[in-house]
């Protein structure tokens, strides 16, 4: 159960209010919250529901439909391994497994220290540099299994 402090509640209300002139503001509000807080737990959805009159059931549906939104807090560094067809053929599977093995988490999970979240992505449109990995927006091209420990270390020591 997430506990949201008053400051966060006020900020969420402010985000909702900033889209008051929009007819269907839900996606924009959720995007802002995701970007700012890193996740959208049920408690936050309840506040959004009260503010814009959309049911929690509908909001929950949107949050669980788009992989961009998350119900759980994400790590400081979000590692995305592309599993699109091209990346997969070029060996993204073993790369993902290596990240999983070193970090001790499955795709979709976050390390206990809150540092890393591991995501398996659908095609990110970088087929020319397959297999591709993204970390907080930075793209790593043509990643080999042997590259993985070094990539992780560079963030651990950052």
């Amino acid at each position: 159960m997430a506990h949201i402090n008053e400051k966060a509640v006020a900020r969420i209300r402010e985000i909702c209010a900033s889209y008051a002139s929009e007819n269907t503001p839900l996606m924009m509000i959720l995007s802002d919250i995701q970007n700012e807080f890193g996740y959208i737990p049920l408690e936050v959805q309840e506040i959004v529901s009260e503010e814009i009159g959309v049911s929690v059931a509908d909001i929950y549906g949107v949050v669980t439909f788009y992989s961009f939104f998350s119900l759980e807090p994400k790590g400081k560094y979000i590692i995305g391994v592309c599993l699109g067809t091209a990346c997969y053929v070029k060996g993204a599977g073993p790369v993902l497994d290596k990240f999983s093995e070193i970090l001790g988490i499955k795709p979709g999970e976050t390390t206990a220290d809150g540092l890393f979240t591991l995501d398996a992505l659908r095609c990110i449109g970088a087929c020319g540099i397959a297999p591709a990995v993204t970390i907080n927006g930075k793209v790593y091209p043509k990643v080999k299994v042997s590259d993985v420990p070094g990539i992780i270390d560079s963030y651990k020591n950052a």
Partner: protein, 587 residues
């Protein structure tokens, strides 16, 4: 609207522009196999693909429920291509569906099984993975089994129409998609008001009331003294379970059946409805006279009470403190009736037959017991009573008409009968309030302004020189409008009736299903008219009653004389009144 020319199966027809193929075909006398019993804006997705037909001008087969007719269009329903496509659609639905139909309570009333039969779909045609299953049996009122869900979305639409803020929604994506309260929670830990409207529209057994027939079997085994009571709306619909036309009143046969089912006493909840009016009218007049919280709002609908506790926890003072009629009946049976008959309340088992699923949740509320005994021990829906009668080998249609037991709690007035339809409690209360304030009967008896099926109705009544503004709402979407006015301090009303289900109890979540595919002899517009037909059964029973005002119920008068003292007395408060509490929406 302009007429256009189309052909169906080669025959020419003229139909209105803008209709879907399904609607147009229906008007021309064709019944395209579909799952569209509720094509009333409650499903407009065309996603189940059952009603596929061939239509010229379209690419491939089209879903007739969403594809509009066009000038010159030629529609083919019976071509091998269309027949096979519809069959395959149903087979695909079945491939991700629980197939233990024989054990499903929806057996015999399942629209999926019906459409499977008429399309010739075979089980196990496509075998593969199935979506992980959730069975939620925690709520006292409604059971959700996702293994039977076909994701049609009718319940989602109905929930949001009835509840205002829907509790049910689609979750996740692709094969993992389910219909559920947020987070795949139980109904018991989400703001479900238990109204059961979702159950009424579910085509399969994915949403069902929680059956309590076994509780009655157990009570019989234990040798309990069983008192059964029936809500007004039940008599207006029970006949449908036995193939009678919608709107056929079956009061006498229902009583005859209950007597043959071995209940010790068969009473009418209407007696307690009269009692509710005595208490509620007195409470209202007291609030008016002594500056109490106004507007006062009725509290007979447990769906509405649940909604108030979830969403208007700060406004609960507006609710009448009266228990709902069947709870009052239970309390009186286990006190006054028990004393008069030398029975230990612990040996009495009170069964309520209700048009309602929320009453199941109401019966287990902590606040509704007297000296540690629950006022009501089991609640059956109208549908469950139908099942119980069938199980017991009673030929309902051949039963004679019989009378309710007449001793102690047997009298009832026309005012009690109309509780079963939106506006009825208001009308009954006005009849008595008028009398209490003026000392004479209102010459009209009927208060037409509060009848009918508008979501919100209002009226101004002159009583003893005062104008009393009243309003009636059914369905929470409509109630919300009135409640927001109250919260904002702008409400102009003195008294408000609110019912959880749109239309009131005649259209309650425990009433027989109205599914056109199983009702070939009803009018084509039955989905629009069934509420009025059932309501008419109640209004005509009101008109047949010699006594039509609650305060003129002789046994009620005697109950006050012998036992309670006066309305709102200390004793009456102990037995007949209750409290409410603000509830957390998501646990």
């Amino acid at each position: 609207m302009a007429l256009i020319n189309i052909k169906i199966e080669g025959y020419p027809y003229q139909v209105e522009e803008g209709l879907t193929i399904l609607e147009a075909a229906k008007l021309c006398g064709y019944e395209i196999p579909s799952l569209c019993a509720y094509n009333h804006g409650e499903c407009s997705k065309g996603s189940c693909r059952v009603c596929l037909v061939e239509a010229t001008g379209a690419r491939g087969l089209v879903a007739s429920c969403v594809y509009p007719v066009a000038e010159g269009m030629e529609i083919t329903i019976s071509s091998p291509k269309a027949v096979e496509a519809r069959r395959a659609s149903v087979e695909l639905l079945l491939s991700n569906h629980s197939l233990n139909c024989q054990q499903c309570d929806k057996n015999g009333k399942c629209e999926l099984l019906h459409v499977a039969k008429i399309t010739g779909a075979r089980e196990n045609k496509y075998i593969g993975s199935k979506t992980p299953v959730t069975v939620d049996e925690i709520s006292p009122a409604i059971v959700r089994d996702t293994s039977k869900c076909i994701l049609c979305g009718r319940c989602v639409a109905r929930c949001s129409n009835a509840h205002g803020l829907g509790v049910l929604g689609f979750e996740n994506r692709g094969f993992a998609t389910i219909v559920a309260p947020a987070g795949n929670r139980s109904f018991a830990t989400s703001p479900c008001i238990m109204c059961g409207q979702c159950v009424n529209v579910c085509p399969t057994g994915a949403l069902m009331e929680k059956s309590e027939i076994a509780k009655i079997d157990q009570a019989k085994k234990e040798g309990k003294y069983i008192v059964v009571q029936t809500a007004p709306a039940v008599r207006a619909a029970l006949g449908e379970e036995f193939g009678m036309k919608i709107g056929t009143p079956v009061t006498g046969k229902m009583v005859a059946a209950l007597k043959r089912l071995g209940f010790n006493k068969v009473y009418d909840t209407n007696f307690a409805a009269d009692l509710t009016i005595m208490e509620e009218a007195t409470e209202l007049l007291d609030r008016i006279k002594n500056g109490g919280v106004l507007p006062m709002i009725t509290s007979c609908s447990p769906g509405w009470v649940n909604y108030a506790e979830f969403y208007y926890g700060d406004q609960l003072d507006h609710l009448s403190s009266c228990k709902s009629p069947h709870e009052m009946m239970g309390a009186i049976v286990k006190s006054y009736f028990a004393e008069k008959n030398n029975l230990d309340p612990k040996d009495i088992f009170v069964v309520s037959i209700m048009p309602c699923t929320a009453k199941k949740g109401e019966a287990v509320r902590d606040q509704l017991n007297t000296n540690g005994n629950a006022d009501v021990d089991a609640v059956l829906t109208t549908r469950e009573l139908g099942d119980l009668i069938k199980r017991s080998g009673i030929n309902f249609c051949a039963l004679p008409d019989e009378e309710f037991d007449a001793d102690l709690l047997g009298d009832y007035t026309g005012a009690g009968v109309i509780f079963g339809v939106t506006g009825g409690v208001m009308e009954a209360a006005l009849r008595t309030a008028y009398y209490v304030l003026t000392g004479k009967e209102h010459e009209l008896i009927k208060f037409e302004q509060v009848r009918g099926f508008d979501g919100i109705k209002e009226a101004s009544i002159e009583i003893a020189g005062q104008t009393i503004n009243v309003a009636v709402a059914s369905g929470m979407k409509n109630a919300k409008v009135l409640l927001d006015e109250i919260r904002a301090g702008t409400s102009k009303y003195t008294f408000i009736e609110i019912m959880g289900c749109p239309g009131g109890c005649v259209a309650g979540g425990g009433q027989p299903y109205v599914k056109p595919c199983f009702l070939p002899n009803e009018d084509p517009d039955i989905l629009d008219t069934f509420k009025a037909k059932r309501a008419q059964a109640l209004y005509s029973e009101d008109e047949r009653q010699a006594v039509r005002q609650s305060h003129n119920n002789v046994q009620i008068q005697k109950l006050y004389e012998d036992y309670l003292g006066a309305p709102n007395s200390h004793k009456a408060h102990e037995l007949l009144h209750t409290t409410y509490e603000s509830k957390k929406r998501f646990k």
